[in-house]
Symmetry: C2
């Protein structure tokens, strides 16, 4: 604690991302990255953008990237905001749409960054408990509130909430912004993006770090009606006019244009997920129904933290959250078939020794 820190900074607990092991050779199933690289089309376009032109500022409006997103999602470009990953966009949302003193709502079990944003920006919040099956109960979101934030599929559970249910929340909160964080939507969920024209209070946030294999590039999108996008732009342009560098803008744009590789990788990950779910169920794991590129599992006999440590000793890194209700679960990212087979063999061995 330093006397130079602001009162806010003294009081916050920053988010801790999953470990990045660096050069060490491990099976890395802890941060929900895509096991497949971005396509040559994307990489070639980026390399071609590494030129002397980098002496100039990048396009602050990210027109090329936003135009590609507009084409891909069938929205006007005015409905699209581009940012430095979905985390930054979500932070901007807290500043753009929520007011201190008006309590916002999000589930008790969800992406733990939401609470960090709320504390940083001094937004009061209430956590709505998920039901016993980790499903989102709707009625608690119908009452008075200062805004709503839902991950769909939810993290770290992977559970999907139907668009019909979300539409109900939207119509019950016509004066408040409802943010749907669809970081994992491409792995089998149904997106709320087509609902944007019907709901001026709906903002959908996407990331290129999961389904698009570009975690290293820092690209995310927010989509909503233009007055919401303008609100985000006002915040962005009060912090940093250029959050996306010239190379990242080109990489993001090409990723949206290369639909074939994207769909191929997503299909493969879903296939690998279904195989892994079966294999873990055979090992007596309980597996929460996932529409994400990770699974959330618990074992009836061996505590999750023991499994976490035992896997780690075999250089397999998964994610464990020492938090109420989920401290006996592991979140396991879906890697390649080979990686998931290695995981299953390792777990089988660990269970056998117990």
């Amino acid at each position: 604690m330093s006397k130079y820190w602001s009162e806010t900074v003294k009081g916050i607990t920053p988010y801790v991302p999953g470990e990045q092991p660096g050069a060490k050779k491990v099976i890395k199933l802890n941060t929900n990255e895509n096991p497949y690289p971005p396509s040559e089309q994307v990489l070639d376009a980026m390399k071609a953008a590494v030129t002397g032109r980098l002496k100039l500022y990048p396009d602050p409006e990210c027109v090329g990237l936003r135009k590609a997103a507009a084409d891909y999602y069938g929205l006007p470009i005015e409905n699209i905001f581009a940012g430095n990953g979905s985390d930054e966009i979500l932070a901007f949302c807290f500043k753009a749409f929520f007011n201190p003193g008006e309590t916002i709502l999000f589930p008790d079990i969800t992406y733990s960054f939401y609470e960090v944003y709320a504390r940083l920006f001094n937004i009061s919040y209430q956590k709505i408990p998920l039901d016993e099956q980790f499903d989102i109960p709707f009625e608690p979101f119908f009452g008075q509130n200062g805004g709503i934030l839902l991950a769909n599929p939810n993290a770290p559970t992977g559970k999907f909430t139907s668009v019909d249910s979300i539409r109900q929340i939207l119509v019950h909160n016509p004066d408040k912004v409802v943010i749907i964080d669809e970081a994992y939507i491409d792995f089998g969920g149904e997106s709320c993006v087509p609902s944007i024209p019907d709901h001026p209070n709906l903002l959908v946030v996407h990331t290129f770090s999961k389904s698009r294999s570009l975690a290293g590039l820092r690209v995310g999108l927010a989509m909503g009606q233009s007055e919401l996008i303008e609100g985000l732009n006002r915040v962005k342009n009060s912090i940093n006019s250029y959050t996306l560098d010239a190379v990242a803008q080109v990489g993001g744009e090409q990723s949206l244009r290369d639909i074939e590789t994207f769909e191929l990788n997503v299909r493969q990950i879903i296939k690998t997920r279904e195989y892994t779910v079966k294999a873990l169920k055979n090992l007596q794991f309980e597996v929460i129904d996932s529409r994400a590129n990770f699974i959330f599992v618990t074992h009836p006999v061996i505590p999750a933290v023991e499994l976490f440590d035992a896997l780690r000793q075999q250089d397999i890194i998964v994610r464990y959250f020492a938090k109420p209700r989920i401290d006996n679960y592991l979140r396991i990212s879906i890697g390649t078939d080979e990686e998931m087979e290695a995981l299953c063999r390792a777990l089988e061995g660990i269970l056998r020794e117990k």
Copy 2:
């Protein structure tokens, strides 16, 4: 104005960066970019970083880049923070070090983004008037305040404040953070970085967008004692764990390693600046003494806004600020010799026709 915007966002006026004319062929002297491209060493390293590894998150600690900065500046790595350009770093500073209700101080004529940050983060501020020569008066910064923010050299004047003077401000404010924005320091000023070990309240902010020819890449640094750096990290990690993508980290690192190209370009820009100053003085311009890669000029006969418009018609873009005290000045970035010769010829022609 939207009912969905937060009260803060309704009240702010975002920063407006200098125009980026896109593909149109112009002489662009409006955003203080470097006229020389980054070196092949920098570009090659970046291209080599465009690989399948982009599927993984980048290093959230930016160790390679910060190590290179530590070597270059002779500081321990714990004294260095890396961010997405100096604008983002300055925004984080407002959240990390300033409290609402404690009035911070900055000059009346300075980088206009400071006021934007203050409004976004609800930090009260007082503008200290520069003297008639656009110099910073020191005594007003000695009183009680919530923190201090100075650009050195100042923008848009280009005027340099001595390190001795800044040290006086530092010793008079031992409990408050004094931020020195050295975006333009490499063009002939003396940096406060060597004063960091003596002053725990000193934070120095640098950008790679000017002297390092990497505006398109979005890299900046903050340097100070480790508790200030930790304060910045707490804010960063409450907004976005990874503000610098993997390619930008490598480009920034190589830029710090390629000292030869950096020094060559900086020397050339200073030489061109001195040539331009002489040429404009021959055209009766008054030129403020600049240690930056831009000059701030006024003409005794023709109003600045007329010159701005006339230059624009000849596809030469400079910067004009319609603000009190400086609305008869133009800020002109230093380009190549050829660009500055074209500027001088154009101005000569415009003055002749009047």
